[in-house]
Assembly symmetry: C4
Homo-oligomer: 232 residues x 4
């Protein structure tokens, strides 16, 4: 079942090591079939060089395995929560990419400091609160999803316009219309974090860009009036 | 038309990923035929591995497409402004290379701190002013070119002697007699930015080099008395 | 003798340059046969590209060569001390990987700042005391092992739960049930050090994670209730 | 003439890009035949991929070309001064490797902070004084050599025990018994600079190692009682 989606999710997973976003098996990509309410995700702890499309696991939105011989990613429930809360997204990536993790550990938002950021993220990429003891000790992965959703709700951030988050003390999740696009965003997040880090060491001035720069660059690439790239 | 120039511009574009100056499609190179008043530029948002010389777009100095099926780079008007204002240059590069972008975001000039800098840049590489709301909301790419030209005029910098700029909140543009040379300068800018960053973290002393060192190293490689390299 | 172990130790050594953990010959891996009380270690100062499984040297727990034409690693006695003091470990790695060395030189513990750390290290990775003049001038390599053992004893750290150390003014040692696993841990240590470094530059807040996060993530991957990965 | 030395110097030059020590043509290696008082050096400004052993230029100790169709490296006179002042050295490397250049620009000595340093450098690697206006405007490259020699004399440093220097506002020179060994030292210098940089950002404590650690590690690899590596 879902053979085409499995192929897409497999290929998206395989891009993570090529884009230097993962060490060993520390990352996972999923993609959803919204009509069937099922998503496909990488199996847990399997080396990338041994993966095949047939290894992808099909799970429902409660995280229960519908098809597949292997255990799904241990982060499956986080993906499930995000798919339920963010209805427009089609793919999700989690990785421990070093620059993004550094900001997640430090608890420092990725402020919008330039056009590289604004081309993809229409505003700051937030860091969540740390999970509480109770949230960690029971239903940990589900609560990881919930703290992401809560952060976006409380701060009034549109997950379609800012398709990334840094989970405090943990690392980044990104998403998008497809698994492939979510992987691309994971790479962009990493590059933006690297640029922000060095800019922050160079100056103590407030270097966030104004709203009109965000408007210009984000809508240069997104929405009805986008004019970057080729007509599809 | 301009088949030889298209080939050169194509090859110059393809060097950007090889020199690790671009992520995804974030860069563009152009080259000009001064006699015809036309320049050749990369199409917008096309992946490097799919580019061919025939994809290069020919535009005039108002940025209008003269030949080509694809949209030219969204930054085409910035290139056009620079070609009009800087009459000696034959090629232009824009990239989002991380070290240079970090300085552009921080708003910190690349001060001349050593011979690596002085061999290519005869003085500091300036950061422009940020574009105003009005400059961003209308004719944005053209105004990006204009702020570069204004910066060089106001600060009295010769664009032939300092073939690079950091656009505030955005990133670097470099130029030179040919597209190939402008790409080389884009790489040098990135390396110089990396060296400057670390030097700035190591000391709070003023470590700009004196004018006589700039004179020595710049003219060792440039002008009638240059003695670096082989006779042509 | 010990042909299978030699092959394993050889392969583990060869992973060090692939994982970018060594410059030139600056690293060594060993693996032990607990029944025979003998361990196999890389020869001293031999280039990785010239190594073969037959070059591995067999030594006893006093560091005396039992088989092999080449000198064993100059760090052999450090390995011997660790095998004697830490009875559960099967393999040891020493490398001069740059991020871990930087912390060892600075004398800064690798505090647990996130899940990447907690997945592998159940608490801070300690820096040892500096060796004294006397400890350096006689039986230096043996004393290097002893200062590691003493550090774990004095600070009450379980070497099976924190399989790594930073020797002050020197660099990291890691260990594990097998040589292959110890190499993996050497890479994780390096990545964790990189993440910690950048987090420490981003904030002056205390960003150590609470004990319950360590409990959750460490035991997600280790022990009877681990649920990361596939059933073996 | 000197065909074997040309081959060695050629191979040593070709290792610079492989060891990631040069950008474009920014580096040069030479090797000397002490009996004939002639040295062989890379031609100026030639791309590495186009070099061949026959391109190497033979010059005498006044820097005059004895054989070769190409101009020798513009830094030839610096090499000549060092060969004359340091009678035991057989090869010299100059590169613009980024970590070492950052320290040279900042004017910060590479203090001995650990065993990685002590294995190769028996004490701090010094930064020279900046060249004066007069020293730069006439006989610049010769004066670059002289300021190196003066630095070692004034600070009482033995160039055989500390085979490297950082020329202020410029970058590193390394040397050794052969061109190949000098290249290896250039790489070690770069790695040591990287480690020192990060250690310096992690702590404000004085983290120089004591003399007895230098004694131990330097003489573990050098001199009559060395015991690292294999008997030759």
């Amino acid at each position: 079942m879902l053979e085409e989606l499995k192929q897409q999710v497999y290929e998206a997973n395989m891009r993570l090591p090529k884009l230097e976003l993962v060490t060993f098996t520390w990352g996972n990509v999923s993609g959803i079939d919204r009509e069937q309410g099922l998503f496909v995700i990488k199996p847990s702890g399997v080396e990338y060089e041994k993966l095949s499309p047939a290894d992808m696991v099909v799970v429902d939105l409660d995280g229960k395995v519908v098809e597949g011989d292997l255990n799904p990613s241990s982060d499956t429930m986080t993906h499930a929560v995000l798919y339920k809360a963010f209805p427009n997204i089609g793919g999700i990536v989690h990785a421990h990419s070093p620059w993004a993790v550094s900001f997640a550990q430090a608890g420092v938002d990725l402020e919008a400091m330039g056009t590289t950021h604004a081309d993809t993220f229409y505003g700051d990429v937030p860091v969540t609160d740390a999970l509480t003891k109770e949230e960690i000790e029971s239903a940990y992965e589900e609560n990881t999803g919930k703290v992401i959703v809560r952060t976006f709700a409380e701060r009034g951030i549109d997950p379609d316009a800012v398709p990334a988050v840094l989970v405090k003390q943990h690392g980044p999740f990104t998403w998008g219309p497809t698994a492939a696009k979510a992987v691309e965003t994971a790479k962009i997040l990493e590059v933006v974090a690297e640029m922000n880090y060095h800019a922050l060491q160079l100056t103590r001035a407030d270097i966030r860009v104004p709203q009109y720069l965000l408007d210009k660059h984000y809508y240069r690439k997104h929405g009805a009036n986008a004019y970057y790239g080729q007509k599809k």
